[in-house]
Symmetry: C2
Subunit: 329 residues, 2 copies
DNA sequence: CTGAAAGCGCTTACAG
DNA sequence: CTGAAAGCGCTTACAG
């Protein structure tokens, strides 16, 4: 339609500079007029690469039980990848807790459609997943995970994060600082947040108070247990948002004033830490992790290896209205 | 490697039944051994379709400011599509509020890589988006939106939702029921939730109390304003989660007991309404909308039209610990 | 700077 | 039930 060969069209649309102005103009005009867009599959086939990665947030349980808390990773990774000229396939991957295998036949494992895989560790990852991924033979980067034998992974220094948050409370004069968490699963954030909290207290000669060594599944009960302590903690750190919600709710039920009677703070994802949120939190650098992971995966795909070893990221403290100076006793 | 022609391999891997058991066995064994997976791009090119859709959650503002509240749609749609043998490309689409155009060159508009588009309406959609999408010439389904001239859209009956939630409070004996909302933007949920709330009150001969006609951007101030009303509402409905968070926080700060002194409830997305959440909410059927939208888009792609007209969905009430019977006055 | 030919890896349509 | 040929729509590599 532009009166030129298809190869000239191809060159113009790819931005090659080896085309004369006149022809370029003709092509651009014709493509605008017809709304022509090249087909991605034909491009991919000829180039031998997709310029696309797959992102996976695996989970146990049926598809109905979504866990949108990980969208921060997906969203940020997609934007970073777009800047690098990559697109992203979102792969739903649900595990049957009884068979320890996936529901159905995920396309990820039956068809090649991406140059690499970004995997978000949501807390628990069954052994079958890394096995199946490795068998795919393409570059893989893990998010929110410490590297396991030869894996490439992006993670955050949770000991440091916990120390920062604990220190904030110490500096406000608190001495009885509690910790509300959930103990099952073995994600490094569970171990390290607790460890950092205990360490920071220890260095000031303090001990945990209002922390259950083996908290059960009934979080509301744990919240009540913490508030029932005598003497009650003057401040509590929550492992994550859902626990904070319960504790705040239980406090509001009893008329315990926050922060006048009780300071509350928590570990939160980047997007939970927006200026609109009223609470004090340690923002876990999810967005940074996603960016770093995306860049790293593209480097792996393009260069075959990464130039610099991974370093853990550190979160940021956002003081808010739910913590205050400890009152005189 | 299996000692058969490539077309036989193709037939086996696609599950055609026109292959003898013997050859099928050979092929399956060889593909297991070598880890062979067919390339999606070659398949797509030959078939003339991608068996893949693109999902878009457009937003104003830079990429850094993610809004993960919409992941419920993305996640559920992906699962539903997987059941229909479709995969999903996640397209980041950010609008520059100054130019009212997109940042960069979204691949969505420069390359054909999907058979259709699922668009999530996050509250505000600039006119440029429907224009650009229509120009693509492929089937489009909107989520969380009422259909606009000829569009296919999936939505929820927000008047009904608001009436259900208001009725819940009325049945608990509340008469001074407030409403906390944000008034800018013109999403139908903003208009209809307020409308349903006012309607339901009116039918009982009651009027709104503790509701600002034109709330500003300072939500914390609105929360204080509501609590400062004299007499104070005995119950407040919140337009969404972030407002509820602020109101609960402001209550906790003042030592107002929830729900003994003040009942709180809100409109929440499906995933916010998990059993772990302590609050009373009207669960907006996001997951259902996503499923319906996904099925509808696939039908449009395969059949060219939808067989049944769209009907609005209705949400579900989850009574929780933040509402209680109004105390005698 | 421009273009004709070849080929990416599948599946469709046809032949046996 | 099995296979050889053709072709999907691009881009690479080559020729002018």
């Amino acid at each position: 339609m532009a009166g030129v060969s298809q190869i000239t069209v191809s060159r113009v649309l790819r931005g090659s500079n080896k085309v004369s102005k006149k022809l370029r103009q003709k092509v651009l005009e014709a493509s605008q007029r017809t709304g022509y867009r090249p087909r991605g599959d034909a491009r991919a086939m000829r180039r031998g690469r997709f310029d696309r990665i797959a992102i996976v947030v695996p989970r146990y349980g049926l598809r109905e039980e979504g866990r949108p808390g990980y969208f921060g990773y997906v969203d940020t990774a997609a934007s970073e990848l777009a800047d690098l000229d990559y697109s992203m396939i979102f792969e739903p991957l649900c595990l049957n807790p009884e068979t320890d295998d996936f529901y159905g036949f995920p396309k990820l494992f039956t068809e090649i459609a991406a140059d690499g895989v970004l995997v978000v560790n949501p807390g628990v990852v069954p052994p079958v997943l890394p096995q199946r991924l490795k068998a795919m033979g393409c570059p893989i980067v893990w998010l929110n995970q410490k590297p396991d034998d030869g894996e490439i992974a992006v993670w955050t220094d949770e000991i440091q994060n916990a120390r920062i948050l604990t220190r904030h409370l110490l500096e406000l004069g608190h001495r009885r600082i509690g910790y509300m968490w959930c103990g099952h699963g073995d994600h490094y954030s569970m171990r390290e947040r607790k460890e950092g909290y205990v360490l920071e207290l220890k260095e000031r000669g303090l001990a945990p108070c209002g922390m259950q060594e083996h908290p059960g599944d009934d979080w509301a009960e744990q919240a009540r247990w913490i508030l029932d302590q005598n003497p009650r903690p003057t401040a509590v750190i929550c492992y994550y948002r859902a626990l904070y919600d319960l504790l705040l709710h239980e406090s509001a039920r009893r008329g315990i004033r926050v922060p006048e009677d009780l300071s509350l703070c928590l570990f939160a994802s980047t997007w939970e830490s927006s200026p609109l949120r009223p609470f004090t939190c340690l923002a876990v650098p999810e967005a940074e992790m996603a960016k770093q992971g995306a860049r790293c995966l593209v480097e792996l795909i393009r260069e075959g290896s990464i130039s610099e070893p991974m370093e853990p990221l550190v979160g940021k403290l956002y003081p808010g209205g739910t913590t205050a100076r400890a009152s005189e006793e």
